[in-house]
Symmetry: C2
Subunit: 687 residues, 2 copies
């Protein structure tokens, strides 16, 4: 503990945590006080006999680099830096932080922080942390990573009130060197850690995070993330207090979804769901059953369950009749099941209920609503006893919880331990959200297809890469690239005079669309550069002249005029790939047209994507029923749509690092055809 002092609150906390939790030897470094926290100090790290491994730096910001050199001299390979006044402050602070990192790299020291509250490893009993003192000392299966120290302290306080134990708790602060992604990457392979919870304001090192998430999926370990900054206001706020740009929340949301990471909205859910997943692991069957002493709770679970997508399967006929035998005459066998107040006097109803649910084809998890035990109400202890036995005997995963949020008393912990029940959740509401998340994650794991690897260079992509333009590109050139990438497009001819346009239109044998074609015009419509539903030689000829005249007036160099068949009807999708500065190419699929843009109905994924993932995206759109024949529209061939989207995505990837965006809008989808009507490619401004 470098710079420890009795007058410093964080120093006192850090020493107290060390005493509560840690087993490794410690030295206190303070050149001015011979005794700190009751321990004899040394003046420098170099004075510690046998050297040191890790420096917990409580020094004021301005002494940090000197202390770091001293620690390195003493053999330290790591340092956790508590001080503030770095990148979170201002531009000068960012410069100071960069300097700190440079020095650490030169010294071979791994830095945690600055501006954080350290970390603790509960299994190895090492603690270099000023986190809240109620951090549970008993080791567990859930690892917690929090960018914010204050939030981390509150999270461990909540954990202590709900009997949640940790394998690790790590705060990352400014992440000058070690980021959340690095910590998650480490924790995924830790044998004691079965699930990981993350509170993040930003996710740095995308590739590391994604690789770790994939390994976690392989191992059946859940990652639960509360990512702040979904609102613009929060994005601004987060930047103010940690200096971190939060990134595009919609892109990060797509990435989390794609990698099976559970995203939560509240801190309580982060702890509750993470710890539940650590105990249950993935469910074998994703359906959830509920047994409750309160009919009202059944209603609330059904209502909230619908909001959050909880899968509550209806009971089989056999379950119905088996339950009818044990319920009082006013009971009604169903799921959620009101076991009625009678269960207080007759706890065997619980046992039978659990046995019946365990035999159901689709049910893999059961929630039990009951009052938590208090001394002097033995029938509640009995409920725990019977439920614990029934869960053990049937092997069904389950949780028990009261109706409203409640901390776990010492008495509850005793009864729980005696009954062998693992999961006591805070309330009906937390259960509903947690069970839905656990169930959805379990389904995702089962249905998961191996993620698509990095895009491999093959003959096609090599050919595509050679087509990448050095500058802006016309629609005609963009079409050539798309066609080379097997993207289905409406036919088009490039006419350079009226006669060619008329000839092309005659070949089409029906009304046509005329569009100006120029590398200098990305938005043709705004220029009046598109004519729809043009029929007859005269009209086509006149149209050609009108378009070239408009281009002339706008001072635009024209490649020519594109002549395509005019299409009517069908559904229009927008399929676009754009480059996110952090996360690379991002695919968006949305319904076209002003109305749906208004309603903000789109699905995003990072590239590359599999066909299965594209099908999932289409299913996420609120308007997805339109594709399967809603209100008389013809059902479309979803496979064909997915193939077209994958072709667009793969082509974009093949075009290499200079591609800025690749958009097919609209991709017209009907019962008999899927074809892009327009293509737009933009490239990075050449440097």
């Amino acid at each position: 503990m470098v710079g420890a002092s009795d007058g410093n609150l964080f120093s006192r906390r850090a020493f107290a945590q060390y005493e509560r939790i840690a087993e490794q030897p410690i030295a206190i470094v303070n050149p001015r006080s011979p005794i700190v926290h009751g321990v004899e100090t040394v003046a420098r790290c170099q004075d510690v006999e046998g050297g040191i491994d890790l420096a917990l730096m409580l020094t004021p910001q301005r002494f940090t680099i000197a202390s770091l050199r001293d620690a390195a001299e003493a053999g330290a390979s790591a340092a956790a830096i508590m001080s503030q006044g770095w990148a979170e402050e201002d531009e000068d602070g960012r410069v100071r932080q960069a300097e700190l990192v440079a020095v650490a790299e030169q010294l071979g020291i791994t830095l945690l922080g600055p501006n954080h509250l350290g970390f603790v490893n509960l299994w190895d009993r090492s603690a270099a942390t000023a986190l809240g003192l109620n951090l549970p000392a008993e080791p567990g299966a859930f690892a917690l990573v929090s960018q914010s120290g204050a939030v981390g302290s509150s999270l461990v306080g909540y954990a202590s009130r709900h009997d949640v134990n940790f394998s690790f708790v790590v705060t990352t602060g400014n992440e000058a060197m070690v980021s959340i992604a690095d910590v998650v990457d480490y924790l995924v392979d830790d044998e004691h850690t079965k699930a990981i919870g993350v509170f993040a304001e930003t996710i740095r090192k995308p590739a590391t995070f994604i690789a770790a998430a994939r390994r976690a999926a392989e191992l059946g370990k859940a990652i639960v993330v509360l990512k702040a900054g979904s609102s613009e206001l929060a994005a601004r706020t987060a930047q103010a207090h940690t200096g971190a740009l939060v990134g595009d929340d919609r892109v990060i949301d797509a990435m989390l979804r794609q990698e099976g990471v559970i995203r939560v909205r509240t801190l309580e859910d982060l702890v509750t769901i993470g710890n539940l997943c650590a105990h249950t692991g993935p469910l074998k069957k994703s359906g959830v059953a509920v047994l409750s002493v309160s009919g009202g709770a059944c209603d609330l679970i059904a209502d909230r369950g619908q909001e959050v997508g909880l899968d509550l399967p209806a009971l089989s006929a056999s379950a119905y009749s088996r339950l009818a035998e044990v319920l009082p005459p006013y009971g009604h066998p169903q799921n959620p099941l009101d076991v009625t107040g009678g269960a207080l006097a007759k706890p065997e109803v619980w046992r039978r209920g659990i046995e019946v649910m365990a035999d159901e084809q689709e049910i893999g998890f059961v929630g039990i609503v009951t009052s938590l035990p208090t001394s002097g109400e033995p029938q509640r202890d009995m409920t725990f006893q019977v439920v614990g036995e029934a869960l053990r005997e049937t092997g069904l995963a389950g949780a028990i919880f009261p109706q409203l949020d409640q901390d776990q008393s010492e008495y509850v912990r005793q009864v729980k331990a005696a009954s062998g029940i693992e999961n006591v959740l805070p309330s009906v509401d937390r259960f509903t959200v947690a069970a839905a998340a656990l169930s959805r994650w379990s389904t995702w794991l089962r249905e998961r297809v191996a993620p698509v690897g990095a895009h491999e260079a093959d003959a096609t992509s090599a050919r595509l890469a050679s087509l990448v333009p050095g500058a802006a590109v016309s629609e005609y050139s963009a079409r050539g690239i798309a066609i080379a990438g097997n993207v289905p497009l409406v036919p088009a001819s490039l006419a350079t005079d009226a006669a060619e346009a008329i000839a092309a239109a005659r070949d089409i044998q029906g009304p046509v669309v005329l569009k100006i074609c120029s590398a200098e015009v990305a938005h043709k419509t705004e220029l009046g550069g598109v004519l729809l539903d043009v029929a007859g030689d005269d009209a086509v000829g006149a149209g050609f002249e009108a378009l070239t005249e408009r281009a002339r007036q706008a001072g635009v160099n024209l490649e020519g005029v594109l002549v395509s068949p005019f299409r009517k009807g069908g559904i229009e999708l927008l399929v676009g790939v754009t480059r996110d500065p952090d996360w690379g190419l991002v695919l968006a699929v949305a319904f076209g047209g002003a109305l749906v843009e208004l309603l903000d109905d789109s699905a995003l994924r990072l590239l590359p994507v599999s066909r299965a993932e594209v099908l999932r995206m289409l299913g996420e759109l609120r308007g997805s029923r339109l594709l399967s024949g809603f209100r008389g529209s013809d059902a479309v061939d979803l496979d064909q749509v997915a193939n077209a989207v994958v072709a667009i995505a793969d082509t974009a990837l093949a075009l290499g690092p200079d591609l800025e965006s690749f958009e097919v809008n609209p991709l017209r989808v009907s019962a008999d055809a899927v074809e892009g009507l327009d293509v737009l490619i933009t490239v990075r401004a050449s440097s």
Copy 2:
């Protein structure tokens, strides 16, 4: 206490509650045990000296009626009936319950229940209840009504963990006679009650409930409702355990919105928001400020705040500079405000923050994020002290809360009492939801227009009423009624032969629409009875013949063919009034077209409605931006749209009790006109 016995859990609880809370004398009636709960019993109510006022009936179901007669003999005017086995059980139970009500009415007894847990009046200290024993005995300003007894018990348990005190707690159970609406109606006028919380599976007696809600609004008392049954599954479940049909949740939701009732989604929010409103009353200014020791909490409040519509005004320039003076260099003045860890050592930052926020034009409520006090951390007590003083001095309403859910310890209650802070909320998340609800309710109260009274019979409505058809009605007749009600419609002529149709079309001077007109056809399109965009004498003549032929083939009697101008462009609204069996006429406004129906974008209100309320409905539609000129569409005259909708609503009301539905679909809305293109009226099948 009739039928009390030592062996009955509910009897023991009821007696214990009596002893904890009540001051009125009690008699225990049990013909078989001379002593129950340590008290000498009497055999019959009639044996109680001086008679009784109220019978708390713990008797088994089959003895209820005999006991009721005995209680009436003894002078009781009210009875609370705990037993199960009534309407919640089956058809026989419903018959038994009806019989019970008939007997009670004949005896002049008011019934609470059956199948409930009684009630308690904390100010008058009378308790006839078997609710959970942790019901706080100290009287308060918040009244709680729960249809479910088990939920009621859990709610009072939560209240006791969060220092919430009640004026009344009432459970209503099967509501054989006294319903939630009756109880709310009573509580609104209770002087001690400042806000009312309701857990309901069904809301009976709509008129009573609405009248009570309006009186509550007049008095500035909030009503907070958790209504179960928003999901289909819950609707089925609730019916199973209370025998109550939950009603159409969307209609009830519209009614609650219209009457300024705060609807919540969780039991915790019910208690938290109800109690908060009881303490603050309506805010003078609806903006909310946040001061926090944790930057992470600021982000979370911003994110969740956006989801739930929390109004967090940006700071004025003067607030910015005043805050910059007290913050450390790495602080950033904004709302939500991270006061930084420095505030721990320098609590004056809290005071200044509150003073600055109180001076802001739009801010009427402040939330303070800090750890709750524990003994041995005096700086936390100091935070409470300073915040309490600053709130008192500035008169700003405020609440203090930790980051994650936490029960209130005895120590917290002491520090809170000493600091004079009224509102300690459970967590950041509960605060965000509660502050948004309080703020929205306060705005609603300020902007509220006097509710439209019962529709008054005037000359127009008398004339309309005389037009009400006895049976099905053709579009032509429906148009006549709509026009009499000042509903703007597209012009139309009824042609009975081709020559008339041609003449009508010539008058229109443009393409026309031809529609078959028959009282026997509600859905013309399905019959192929509509021809759009018909131009020229020949086409109109042929169209007339084709339509009459289709009607003949379908065996439909035709009044004639309607000839109207063909309209293109504009936005189509659906405006429909239908009759709900419980709540009467309900107005729905939605965007037209398959896509929006798919996305389920509509707003509902009970009739009558004011113009202001209709404008609010239009604003609720997700697509409302379409009306104000989104993406190049012309902005429409919202007042004109609202007038048309009000005319439709008022016409429907004037048509009297036989009207089943009145629909104008589409109501075409463009920059220059608002007109209905089609009208459909249906009436109740004549009895």
